[in-house]
C-alpha cells in the first residue's frame, strides 16, 4: 500500500470562512478586547465557562458559536451557557442547531423570535437573518421582554432540567445500542 498523501491544513485554514469571501459582509478584524464593566470576568474563564453571575442582567444571549459555515450543527459550551443560566438564546451558528436542540427535548423561542434562520442553508443569508432578529429583539421595550421571561419561566426550568439529565439519557441509549 503506498503512503497516503496527507492534506496539509494550512492552505485550508480559512475554508470555513468562505462565506465572507464575496465581501458583501464586513468581517474586517476588530480591536478587541472590549468588555463592559458589568461583565466582571473573561467570557470564557473557569468561573464563567458554564454559568456566570452577569447573566442575571440580560434577557437573551446571542450565541456566536465556534463556526458558522459548517455542514453540521455544532454546539459548544457557548450554547449551553444560556440554558444553564435560564435565559433565552439566539444562535449565530451552523444550519440546524435549533432543530437539533428541539430534537434533544429543549424549548426554543419561536413565539417571540423568528427562528426560520435555522433553516437557511446559505451562511451569508443566515448571518443576515440572525442579525436582523437581534436588531428586532433589541428594539423591543425591556418591560415587554421581562414579562415574556416571567411568563415562560417553566420553559427555562425545563431546559435546565433537560440539559442536566441529558447525559444520563444518552448513556441509557448507548447501553441499549451496544447490546
Amino acid at each position: 500500500m503506498p503512503i497516503f498523501n496527507v492534506l496539509s491544513l494550512d492552505p485550508f485554514i480559512r475554508v470555513n470562512d468562505a462565506f465572507v469571501m464575496d465581501h458583501s459582509i464586513d468581517a474586517r478584524p476588530i480591536e478587541f478586547p472590549i468588555r463592559p464593566s458589568i461583565i466582571d470576568s473573561e467570557p470564557n474563564s473557569k468561573e464563567t465557562r458554564y454559568q456566570a453571575d452577569f447573566y442575571q442582567y440580560i434577557a437573551c444571549d446571542l450565541v456566536v458559536e465556534t463556526v458558522l459555515d459548517y455542514p453540521y450543527p455544532y454546539i459548544s459550551e457557548k450554547t449551553l451557557r444560556p440554558i444553564l443560566c435560564k435565559r433565552m438564546f439566539l444562535i449565530l451558528g451552523p444550519v440546524g442547531v435549533l432543530s437539533l436542540l428541539r430534537n434533544k427535548g429543549f424549548y426554543t423561542f419561536n413565539d417571540i423570535i423568528d427562528e426560520s434562520y435555522d433553516n437557511i442553508s446559505d451562511p451569508s443569508d443566515r448571518f443576515r437573518a440572525v442579525i436582523s432578529e437581534a436588531e428586532k429583539f433589541c428594539s423591543r421595550p425591556l418591560q415587554e421582554i421581562v414579562q415574556y421571561l416571567e411568563h415562560s419561566h417553566s420553559k427555562f426550568e425545563h431546559n435546565f432540567y433537560t440539559l442536566t439529565n441529558l447525559q444520563e439519557l444518552e448513556l441509557l441509549d448507548l447501553e441499549k445500542s451496544l447490546k
Binding site: 496527507v6 475554508v15 463592559p36 421581562v146
Partner: protein, 183 residues
Amino acid sequence: MKEISTKVSDLLNKKYHIISHWNFLEFDQDFSILRERARGIKKDHYDLKDRIIVEHMDTDYYVKINDFQIGINLRNFFGVMAELDIPHHLFIFYTNHFGIKKEIDLLCENRHPNDRPTIIETFLSRLHYKQESVQNIDFNVDSVKFNMLCMMHLTRSHRNAAYRELDKIDRSKILLSGTNANF
C-alpha cells in the same frame, strides 16, 4: 484532557477491550503522529472486543469532493488507517459532528458494511459541559437591564462581522464583549 464523559468511558471499557484512546487534537496538525500511534497498535489479528476510542470534537476544515463536503482531518485519518490496513470496525468515534456518518460512509465506501466505525454523537464532552460544575440557580428576572448579551472569544471572521453589525445597536440594549485571542 479526555473529552469523553467518565460514564461513557466506563461503559465502553466494560463492554470492550479498549486498546488505545486517541483525540484528533493530538495529531490534526501533524498526521505523522497518528501514523506512529497506529503502527503501535498494528497487529496481525485483533480480539473480537478490541476497540480504539477516537475523540473528534474539534472543528474540521471542509472541501468539496465530488459535490460532497469532506473534512480534511477526517479524510486524513481514514487515509492513514487504510494505508496501514487497520480494520475500521475497531474505531469508536466520540464526536459532536452530528451527521458525520455520511462522511464516514463515503470515506469507507470500499469497506465491508461490518467494517465501519461505531459512532457516538453528543455535544456533552468534558470540554463543553461539566455536570459537577453546574448549579441549579434560581430563576430571577428582577435584575434584567439589557435585552441582549453577545460575547465573543477567539477571533473569527463571523465574530468580526457580527461585532460590526451589533455595534450599531444602542448600548443600553445590548452588552457586547470580546477578547483579543487570535487564530
